[in-house]
């Protein structure tokens, strides 16, 4: 039964390769996207950290995204 499932009545090579290519390609795009996002998050947090207290306050006041980012980033680390 397992052998039948693997061979797919002679179409196993084509079926398994199709699914493998699909999931491998999706996995690679996910990994690349995730890595890039984390890199940008880290760099952005570092840049915010390097600002003086007054500059930082001004940035957080003026940019909703920056303040939301900092809140979620601090939670995630």
């Amino acid at each position: 039964m397992i052998q039948n499932f693997i061979s797919m009545n002679g179409y196993g090579f084509f079926v398994w390769l199709s699914f493998a290519i699909t999931f491998l390609a999706c996995g690679m795009l996910y990994y690349k996207t995730y890595k890039t996002l984390k890199k940008y998050e880290k760099d952005f947090a570092k840049e915010l950290d390097q600002l003086s207290e007054a500059e930082r306050k001004l940035v957080l006041e003026k940019s909703k995204v920056a303040s939301q980012f900092l809140a979620s980033y601090n939670k995630s680390i």
Partner: protein, 235 residues
């Protein structure tokens, strides 16, 4: 209406949505794969090679839908000059390219045992190849042109020109006598696919759509951070 896609409004929802998709994704994936590879019956003509359709068809649909969305958003961006739309189209493009390539490769893997050839210069297959070229040009425009406004304009033009190819892909099997078979699933209710095969197809579509949403959200978040990072000194 366009305020809904304002980065500062959407930013805090992105994290929640990513977590939600992550929590249900693997359960749905296992269910969909069980139906696609185990529970669905082999086709009376194609045998087990029909299972390739469960990744090929949703991939082709996503590839087509992504480009249609990109092109429509490019038109809106041209008319209303909304920069956020460019961030979204830029985030969708790699997903569309990925699924167009998957559709072409899995189609080729299905073609070999069924038609006896890996490739044919058939209207549907060739128009899908042209779609992938439009995706590549769109992505290259963003990568190679340093001036962001100019890159957006060029990529918008590419997307709008590429829109002509979408009805060609959709109706190629009706307009020309092609090797590729006509659609089995029609929105007017005259579908010729059995429910036992329609269910795994829809489940795989749902799983791949969730994956697309996940990548889109992550890419959109990256784009927002990239722009804010660039503007941090200006603030």
């Amino acid at each position: 209406m366009f305020d809904l896609i304002n980065p500062s409004r959407i930013f805090h929802w992105i994290e929640k949505l990513i977590n939600f998709i992550n929590s249900i994704f693997f359960i749905l994936l296992i269910i969909a794969l069980t139906f696609a590879l185990v529970l669905s019956p082999p086709d009376y003509l194609q045998g087990d090679s029909v299972r390739i359709m469960y990744v090929h068809v949703p991939s082709a649909w996503i590839g087509l839908a992504s480009f249609t969305v990109i092109a429509l958003m490019s038109i809106l961006s041209f008319i209303f000059k909304i920069k956020n739309l460019n961030l979204i189209t830029k985030s969708i493009a790699p997903i569309g390219l990925l699924f167009t390539c998957i559709a072409i490769i899995t189609g080729s893997l299905w073609g070999q045992p069924t038609w006896g050839t890996w490739w044919a210069w058939d209207a549907r297959i060739t128009s899908m190849l042209i779609l992938s070229i439009f995706y590549i040009l769109f992505i290259l425009a963003h990568k190679l042109i340093e001036n962001e406004d100019k890159a957006n304009k060029v990529s918008n033009i590419i997307a709008i020109i590429g829109l002509i190819n979408i009805p060609v892909i959709r109706y190629s099997v009706d307009w020309w006598n092609t090797l590729h078979q006509p659609s089995s699933i029609k929105l007017d209710g005259t579908s010729s696919i059995h429910p036992s095969m329609l269910l795994p197809l829809m489940l795989m579509l749902l799983v791949l759509l969730l994956y697309c949403a996940l990548i889109l959200l992550m890419k959109y978040k990256t784009e927002i951070i990239r722009i804010k990072k660039k503007n941090i000194k200006r603030i």
